[in-house]
């Protein structure tokens, strides 16, 4: 059985000429026109602000503006790297990112495969709706729900624990439990939404392959293992690579809402520190420097991961 892989992008061997270039654009003008909104969005909201990223190397003063503020070199990067909790922040951030990726992604794949294999259409629609729902709740609402479930005073889960003779567990204030609350609440909220991507990839696999495999006597598990999973590997690689680029984004909204002083040691991440030290203390240059730092790390990780994926799985972003 051969794997279905994406067709390679053909590269023209013709010599580049400006005339050909413009001719090519003109020939596909409607496609480019369709792309316009996206290009404009990225130009305004993604590439335009990059100009202001120079304040990472300046002592930004609003009155002097971005251009007029004095250069200070790598001072803000040094401040961040030498900050008292730098190691803690980096560790917590990477931990949450990786844990969400490693535990969240397989679950989303399993969900997608399960939904794909379900024959009862109504049941599938119902399950899909139910598991998507938490994605649309804000983290503030989620915190309220979690408090009702996890509160050591009158939480549902602790009531059950007490019923079985155990002591209540302060899930939200105990450093031993808080990390798991963060990870599992994220999985609960986002797994359903993540399944959309994998489900779409599964639906794109030709039914002929499944039918041929069934005729050849393949069991459902064998069909999943030999057709479904290989069929979505390009998407898995793509998602993993993109997530590697955001490895230092551990979910500001979630942590900001859920964390409290007793769990700072295991819950404080780079973004929450930036909020306290950068935004609230009016150190926007420092905040930008940290953003820059995160971007560079993310870029390096994407490049490395892309090379690894190319060699190991013969799949890559570029």
């Amino acid at each position: 059985m051969t794997l279905k892989t994406l067709p390679p992008i053909s590269r023209s061997t013709e010599k580049f000429s400006l005339k050909n270039f413009f001719h090519s654009i003109w020939r596909q003008r409607w496609l480019y026109f369709l792309m316009m909104p996206t290009l404009i969005y990225f130009a305004i909201f993604k590439y335009g602000p990059l100009w202001n990223a120079q304040i990472a190397f300046k002592d930004f003063k609003p009155l002097l503006g971005v251009m007029g503020s004095p250069w200070v070199g790598f001072q803000h990067f040094e401040t961040f790297v030498n900050s008292f909790y730098f190691t803690d922040l980096l560790t917590n951030t990477v931990f949450f990112s990786l844990a969400k990726l490693i535990l969240g992604m397989p679950l989303a794949i399993v969900c997608a495969i399960a939904l794909h294999e379900t024959w009862f259409l109504r049941y599938r629609t119902f399950v899909q709706t139910v598991i998507y729902l938490p994605h649309f709740l804000s983290w503030v609402i989620m915190f309220g729900v979690l408090l009702v479930i996890l509160s050591p005073g009158n939480g549902l889960l602790n009531a059950i624990i007490e019923q079985f003779g155990g002591d209540p567990i302060p899930f939200l204030t105990s450093p031993n439990h808080f990390r798991w609350v963060v990870i599992f609440s994220d999985i609960w909220k986002e797994t359903g939404w993540s399944t959309i991507l994998y489900l779409a990839a599964l639906l794109a696999i030709s039914p002929d392959l499944y039918e041929a495999a069934a005729v050849d006597g393949a069991t459902p598990l064998q069909r999943i293992w030999h057709i479904s999973i290989p069929g979505i590997i390009p998407v898995i690689v793509l998602v993993t690579l993109l997530r590697m680029g955001n490895i230092l984004d551990a979910g500001f909204n979630q942590i900001f809402v859920l964390y409290s002083v007793p769990v700072y040691s295991v819950g404080d991440i780079i973004d929450t520190w930036v909020y306290r030290q950068g935004v609230l203390q009016f150190q926007f240059s420092l905040a930008t420097a940290v953003g820059f730092f995160k971007g560079v790390i993310g870029l390096v990780l994407i490049l490395i991961s892309n090379q690894i994926a190319k060699r190991v799985a013969q799949q890559s972003l570029f």
Partner: protein, 545 residues
């Protein structure tokens, strides 16, 4: 071809939507662009043409956050436009860190509003003002004072408050009168005490015993183990201000030692501090305090006492006793009764209720507004708020939303209850009252905190609670306003607060060795320098000798 036309139209619509979303948010009035140089002097309008209205953008916090902003057709907007020739745009800013982040973002874009309230996550409004002054974004306001004589007399009459907003020889802030001082206090469920046959506690040990009884002896008699002795939540640095009565019993209330006993500095330097922490820890270990206290918000906490979850707490007198606030509790427990309790006396005879910081709201005028020549109009608006506009912005329209009775008191007697200024429906129309309008006159206080009967027919007098709280021994901590945060505030505050919480929750063992390590860690973060700078600031301000 038809399909291409459709695609073209769809794309056009999408592009126009994107471009529209990129455009600046529409505002009722166009704001002038920021200029680095002062604007040219405005040309006096000729006597025959009416002068152009001045656009003023005001950012202030809400008095009732859940009530929302006044509607666009609010009569006050029309009156301000007609009488003062001002187009007012009133924007409600969030409280705490969210509000500070919003103002900082506007400052970073050099787009501060004309008149705005300082907001600080740590209630350090003065520090927030100074930071903006140092950035050159604030205008001196001393020259506005003669333009609003009545407001100065009623609002800006505290010399210390004025000194605190004066930097580099210029007054930059408009210090509104602080809220009613010393308005929070310790209260206990008297009905629970009576049911269990207990006396009002007077020492930490007695407090512990009562809290334990409230937790274990089913004081509400519902047959369930669902009550706690203490309730509270974390606010501010360290253990916050809600447990200062406990720390006060050991002579160490608040972050700084303003008691006059011993040298000025951080209270954690005191030998008594670990003892106070050990007592607090004993409450946590014995599970006589609501275990959710480290994660609760103020609203969560208030919802819990209204549900009868605990019997001892520190609360604001109005949040507890005002009719609209007390009503849900009264409905749930008509026979219940909260009574104020005096500060407990510690083992060495120390007794402090809390730390009075005297912090009030501070408003400021942006340099951009001054460059645009708006200071005179802002002064005109503020003066009007303290004179002709006072009742309209504080209570509503006379005869519709309030009346003034024969004794000169503000009343709602005979008015449609929905239109009365006390009705929840009217709250959006008086959102400015606590920030810019009220100045704690006797008439205001009587109007704001009337006595009433509870469901069980008991007389509830909010002012009696306030009087009790104010007569307790408070530490004068007004000097805290001149203490500026250290450069590494995020790290310092985290270490300071996290360490104390870890000791109290038992995450870190509390003994001489660990305490010494904690203090050494503080020093490694520059605690000694911070203390020295704080001391010098206090000396410079004449608040410490």
């Amino acid at each position: 071809m038809k399909s291409w036309k459709m695609i073209f139209i769809v794309c056009l619509l999408v592009v126009s939507q994107v471009l529209a979303s990129c455009a600046p948010a529409a505002t009722p009035t166009e704001e002038p662009a920021a200029t680095e140089a002062p604007a040219e002097p405005t040309v006096e309008p000729s006597p025959t043409t009416p002068p152009e209205p001045v656009d003023i953008v005001l950012w202030a916090q809400a008095t009732v956050t859940e009530a929302g902003a006044p509607p666009d057709d609010w009569v006050a907007y029309d009156i301000i436009r007609e009488e003062l020739n001002i187009n007012l745009t009133y924007v409600i800013v969030p409280t705490g860190a969210d509000g500070e982040a919003k103002i900082n973002a506007a400052a970073a874009a050099n787009d501060l509003p004309d008149l705005f309230q300082m907001v600080s996550a740590n209630n350090d409004n003065r520090g927030a003002l100074l930071r903006l002054v140092d950035l050159g974004l604030m205008a001196p306001v001393g020259d506005m004072m003669p333009l609003m004589p009545e407001r100065v007399k009623l609002h800006y009459n505290d010399q210390l408050a004025l000194d605190l907003v004066t930097f580099y020889g210029e007054q930059y802030g408009l210090p509104e009168p602080p809220p009613i001082p010393k308005r929070e206090g310790l209260v206990i469920r008297k009905d629970w005490l009576d049911k269990l046959g207990l006396d009002v506690p007077t020492t930490p040990e007695e407090l512990f015993a009562v809290a334990e009884a409230f937790t274990t002896q089913d004081p509400d008699g519902n047959g369930k183990n669902d009550t706690y002795g203490f309730g509270g939540f974390l606010n501010g640095e360290g253990l916050g201000t809600r447990f200062d009565f406990i720390m006060g019993a050991y002579g160490v209330p608040g972050v700084w030692n303003f008691t006059g006993n011993g040298d000025f500095g951080l209270n954690v330097r005191s030998e008594n501090y670990p003892e106070a922490l050990a007592y607090f820890k004993s409450l946590v270990d014995a599970k006589v305090i609501d275990p959710d206290w480290p994660t609760l918000t103020r609203d969560d906490f208030r919802a819990r006492w209204k549900q009868g979850s605990f019997g001892i707490m520190w609360e604001d007198f109005a949040a507890l006793t005002n009719k609209s606030n007390y009503e849900p509790f009264d409905t749930n427990f008509p026979d219940a009764e909260w009574i104020p309790v005096a500060a407990p006396t510690g083992p060495d005879g120390d007794t402090y209720y809390g730390v009075y910081t005297g912090r009030g709201q501070i408003f400021g005028v942006s340099q951009k507004a001054a460059d645009d020549g708006k200071k005179e109009a802002i002064a005109r608006l503020l003066e009007w708020m303290a004179t002709d506009g006072y009742y309209l912005l504080g209570f509503g329209e006379e005869g519709v939303n309030f009346i003034i009775d024969d004794n000169g008191n503000i009343s709602t007697e005979g008015l449609d209850p929905v239109q009365a200024y006390t009705a929840p429906e009217r709250q959006p129309y008086t959102q400015m009252r606590n920030q810019l309008i009220f100045y704690n006159s006797e008439q205001e206080i009587v109007a704001r905190y009337p006595t009433y009967e509870t469901i069980a027919g008991r007389l509830m007098d909010p002012m009696a609670f306030l009087g009790f709280f104010q007569n307790e021994p408070w530490v004068d901590g007004r000097g805290i306003q001149v203490i500026l945060p250290p450069a590494n505030a995020a790290d310092f505050n985290r270490y300071y607060t996290e360490g104390l919480i870890q000791f109290v929750l038992g995450q870190k063992e509390l003994n001489d060795e660990t305490w010494a390590e904690y203090l050494a860690g503080l020093d490694s973060l520059g605690a000694a320098d911070y203390e020295a700078a704080a001391q010098q600031s206090l000396i410079d301000a004449g608040l410490l000798k």
